[in-house]
Amino acid sequence: MRKSSLRRACAAVAAVASLSLAATACGGTTKNDVEESGGGATAPTGRADPHAPLKKGLTVGFLPKQVNNPYFTSADKGGQKALTELGSAYKEVGPNSATDTSGQVSYVNTLTQQQVDAMAVSAQDPGALCTALKQAMSNGIKVVTYDSDTKPECRNAFVSQAGAEDLGRTEVQLLAEQIGYKGEIAILSAAQTATNQNTWIGYMKDELKDPKYKNVKLVKVAYGNDDAQQSFQQTQGLLQQYPDLKGIIAPTTVGIKAAAQYLSGSRYKGKVKLTGLGTPNDMRRYIKNGTVDAFELWDPARLGELAARTAVALASGQITGKAGETFEAGAMGTFTLGEDGVISLGKPTVFDAGNIDRFDF
């Protein structure tokens, strides 16, 4: 008896304590306070000298989202090739999993500790790397993001694989043409948090608002987490869930390959159209056997190369990351920095039976 009243008293005290805590906290810091206090992008410091000589003997660290991912292997090889050509050293570090954010942070810290001259980073998360990247920059290290960006104030420049808008819209255009502008479609994406994927999907949805797609209906966005098995199962699930599905867009190289693998072995082969972002070497057999009509991609090796050349241009002082600055990227030509230090690689290439044999990556 006495014990239970004691327990009740304890509960009451706890309730009162938490209530008063909540009440006193009402005057606390909210999202609005943070927005009011500003905290916008800090402008890059220093002045660019486009005629500064390119420095040699630099070390540039590449930090992809995931080290054993064929896409990043290809991109980073492009970076390695460019750095060798420029007389600088290349190194690659990175986590084994594309969702190991804390792992990526500790690799940024490692590169900072090893005092590389610049790093090229494909961010798993727009915010998580910020503190570490800012620390790197304050230690004099130039930071380029490629493939997937962080917040603009956390890096010097971002090398974009192609305008996000171009990619999103052209994928819808490709698929709509293949299904005759009619029927249910679905998207098979990578991780639900992937910055680039979500931006593209945003543009896809916007493109679908055009009246010419009035008979095209997006029924679902599925997530395969850039894992072959999961993407395979998600494709299977989509087709079971939506028997009338006419087409799938997979804006991820792992996803499109797994989806093509499933379709080519099923009765949907040739009937359900598949397009998205894939590599020619992955997709060649599915183009040849009629599973896939056309897909698109930028050349990841060129993306890596541009990231490397941007890093060296930054470290040499030719650019600082301000909009309007220009630099020579070897045989790739001249590039101009856009708003927020974004450098665009150019329009994506469409691969089909007619041209796929001309590419090898």
Partner: protein, 335 residues
């Protein structure tokens, strides 16, 4: 075991010594290891594991385990992000997140103690459930715009020293955990509970209540870790801290806490945590590939399960040789 040699051969002492050796070697031979910035990175990245390891040690000593801690941390971070987006004050959100952690822990504890289910099964279930709820709460968003003073606290260091600011509160939590486990009747009863539930019950220990309390404390610490994680990495996402439970369990086992319960010290567990953390840091500085790092960690884990058993065999054999007539050493308190 008052004999100094037996003490030296105890696994947690071995792990502590290994940590010291690793630190000394790294200071002398690894470029970039010894400076304040790197040490603060090392400690900061290890803190989430170190935080959850405190209640986890108590739980494992009592013969239970909680695999849902990383999901609870993820859920706590997701709620933090969602409520922040809704415009609530962070000073209100944080206590709410901690309360949520207590609820998560209570659910685990009640399922284990009231329904008598094994904690491994229960917490594998809630591991999936809590993560799922986190995804429902926050979806694909990554919330990053938390107030600067909170981010600075979670990621900054004290002046130019190697100590992260969040390390001081951690030391307080550590002291509390050590006192509870090694200096209170409650703590000592946990060893008895882990060694033999029946015996403990006949000795008058309220086994179920102790376990319920431990699960609740674990949920609370997991939620606190979730808040710390979100602020440390300036990113609240539903998949924060994925896989952290394995790091915690690995570190605790490496520290010589017996998976079957009844044995272990917090000193050993904390040494295990920082040994794994320091090893990861050093391997990264030496540019050991991520794949090889996983292999090293895996091998260490196997050693950590074998090591204490071997160490115990040796010490039991020594004791047996010394005094064949006296019974085997007590199961409980090593202090």
């Amino acid at each position: 075991m008052p004999d100094p040699l037996s003490r030296a051969i105890r696994w947690d002492t071995v792990v502590g010594a290994l940590l010291l050796v690793l630190l000394l070697l790294s200071f002398s031979f690894v470029d970039g290891f010894g400076n304040a910035l790197n040490l603060s990175f090392l400690i900061g990245n290890t803190l989430p594991i170190a935080m959850i390891a405190l209640p986890m040690t108590l739980l494992v000593v009592a013969g239970e385990i909680d695999l849902s801690v990383a999901s609870t941390a993820g859920l706590s971070g997701a709620v933090l992000g969602r409520l922040w987006n809704e415009g609530m004050a962070i000073e209100t959100i944080i206590p709410l997140c901690l309360l949520l952690g207590v609820v998560c822990g209570l659910v685990n504890g009640l399922l284990v103690t009231r329904l008598g289910l094994p904690s491994l099964a229960v917490t594998i279930g809630t591991l999936a459930a809590y993560r799922g709820i986190a995804q429902i709460v926050l979806g694909a968003d990554a919330v990053t715009d938390f107030p600067a003073q909170y981010l600075d606290f979670a990621a900054g260091r004290i002046g130019n020293t190697f100590l992260p600011r969040a390390f001081v509160p951690y030391l307080v939590l550590l002291a509390i955990a050590v006192l509870v486990l090694h200096a209170t009747p409650f703590g000592r009863s946990l060893f008895a509970v882990g060694a033999g539930e029946e015996a403990a019950r006949f000795a008058g220990i309220r086994v179920k209540r102790a376990r319920l309390l431990l699960f609740t404390a674990t949920g609370f610490m997991a939620a606190l870790t979730g808040v710390f994680w979100a602020l440390h990495y300036a990113s609240a996402r539903y998949d924060n801290a994925t896989g952290l439970e394995l790091s915690v369990v690995a570190a605790v086992l490496l520290g010589g806490v017996d998976f079957d319960g009844g044995r272990g010290t917090l000193g050993g567990a904390v040494a295990g945590v920082f040994l794994l953390g320091a090893l990861g840091n050093v391997m990264s500085l030496l540019s050991v590939s991520a794949q090889s790092q996983i292999v090293v960690t895996g091998v260490l884990l196997v050693v950590s399960v074998l090591g204490p058993r071997v160490a115990r065999r040796i010490s039991v054999a020594r004791a047996g040789r010394r005094a064949a007539s006296t019974p085997a050493p007590s199961l409980a308190s090593p202090s």
